[in-house]
Amino acid sequence: MLFCATLLVALASAIVIGVILVRGAGGLGWEFLTAMPAKGMRAGGIFPAIVGTLELVGLTVVFALPMGVAAAIYLTEYAKDNWVTRVVRLAIVNLSGVPSVVYGLFGLGLFVIFCRFGTSILAGALTLAIMTLPVIITASEEALRSVPDSFREVSHSLGASQWQTVRHAVLPFAVPGIMTGTILGVSRAAGETAPILFTVAAFYLPRLPHSILDPAMALPYHLYVISTQIPNIPQAKRYGTALVLLLLVLSLNLLAVMLRTHFRRKRSW
């Protein structure tokens, strides 16, 4: 009986992926992936949505990675074990629990309006970066903690300062774990819709964005709109868009898992 319950849950994901794979494969094609949309989305391709998602996610990493790793370094190497640190950790837990649409509101209020960035890739990336921060911090912290203390002790005994120790004796060995966590965070950011609803997403742009201050199309938002608001789109195109997004996210996850196994095997301590 327990087996059936577990099987149901595990199979559900396979069924979802399978359905999209089967029904969406028909909609994929070179033109679909590389052409600009036409006729109000009923024809043409989703190229700008793909480009938009990639640009958004790239900029997100630029913002989130340094800050996340630095915060993790603070937590593992510099922070003392007192109530302040506990509050910091509580804040991280809460950041990861905030609903995605509230992030969207926050991004709207702060970046789009207050900072006057307007509906732009910049505003969207900053919002997504804050959303991804807890994931990167948690993964980096775990990676840093897994480096044995003996590394730090040897470095200190040779006369290195705290930062030198971190920079040369700890951080390089934590890089695989940090990379894995970042890729997982990125795959999550790529699939999010609510934070970009009000901060960056546009539905039908005839050209690619020129700069990070332009709005952009993005895959998740695109899927949402064509499945709820535009009638008369061939079902294959809808499934095709879902498939592209799904493949993007799943391959990022796969990459992260493969990296993790590879480095775990290569580890010599």
Binding site: A12, Y74, G97, P99, V101, G109
Partner: protein, 290 residues
């Protein structure tokens, strides 16, 4: 030598700053929500907002009662919890106690795969596959109901519940299992009477985090629950949640209008609710098991 000391001080200051960034951001989010949302309460009282039965933001005069939205969120969350907790705990029990080897890895991967699927894709499947199924099964006029939302959200919460419950179960000392079995208990009795109570605080935390996830979910819910802002009587009718309201209406709300600040006020409610849930779940996770 001196410039090196300065550079190091600067780097350490940046690290410290990043360390506190999480607190800064949480506070910042709350402050911004308040800044915009509190403006609502100069025209609408808190009681009217929280208890008002009508959400007509674009009528004249507009009504901003979120009771139907609160009920919508609550109903969908309750339904999702009722589905996902038994299934999730059962799966965690199976995976941690009974499954072995490749089957265990395969099951774990299958469940964790669900966590990787974006919510908009799940909403898409909900509209195209689940909703017609429900419509046919129950002979309704539309398949976009609270039940559809509950089922979709149950599957979204399940990876969280399964993995945290599994952690809680593996944290129970082996001696508990061995003692129970030595006293003659069957495996089932051992799991239900000994393991579950011992892992109780972890399981409660898992459920709360799952609930938190469900309450905060926006896209999947918006796509499958039908978006009717009325107080629901059954599971088989369209509802609208707090999150879907913000997402659906922000596009049309005129900036700085009453509608706009009302949506921010809903954001405050969501933020506070998820904050409380996450805070309590965190306390449960860090309690000592019996």
């Amino acid at each position: 030598m001196r410039w090196r000391r300065w550079r190091e001080r600067l780097i350490e200051a940046l690290i410290r700053f990043s360390g506190f960034s999480s607190i800064t951001l949480v506070v910042l989010i709350f402050v911004f929500l308040l800044k915009e949302g509190l403006a609502l309460f100069s025209t609408v009282s808190l009681g009217d907002f929280l208890g008002g039965r009508h959400w007509y933001p674009i009528s004249d005069p507009p009504r901003f009662g979120i009771l139907p939205l609160l009920c919508g969120s609550a109903l969908v969350t309750l339904g999702a919890t009722a589905l996902s907790v038994p299934l999730g705990v059962a799966s965690a029990l199976f995976i941690s106690e009974i499954a072995r080897g490749w089957m265990r890895e395969a099951l774990k991967t299958g469940i964790e795969l669900f966590a990787a699927i974006p919510s908009v894709v799940l909403g898409f499947i909900g509209i195209t596959v689940l909703a017609p199924l429900i419509r046919q099964t129950f002979h309704l006029s539309t398949g976009l109901t609270a039940l559809t939302g509950s089922i979709t959200l149950a599957f979204m919460a399940m990876p969280t519940i399964v993995s945290i419950t599994e952690d809680a179960l593996t944290a129970v000392p082996r001696g508990y299992r061995e003692a129970a079995l030595a006293l003659g208990a069957t495996r089932w009795q051992m799991m239900v009477r000994v393991l579950l109570p011992a892992a109780a605080s972890g399981i409660v935390a898992a459920v709360m985090l799952g609930i938190g996830r469900v309450i905060g979910e926006t896209m999947a819910v918006m796509m499958v629950t039908g978006n009717a802002a009325v107080i629901p009587h059954t599971l088989l009718q369209p509802v609208r949640t707090l999150t879907a309201t913000i997402a659906a209406e922000m596009g049309e709300a005129v900036r700085a209008s009453d509608h706009y600040v009302a949506l921010f006020a809903i954001g405050i409610v969501l933020f506070v609710v998820t904050f409380v849930i996450n805070f309590m779940a965190d306390r449960f996770l860090h309690r000592e098991p019996r």
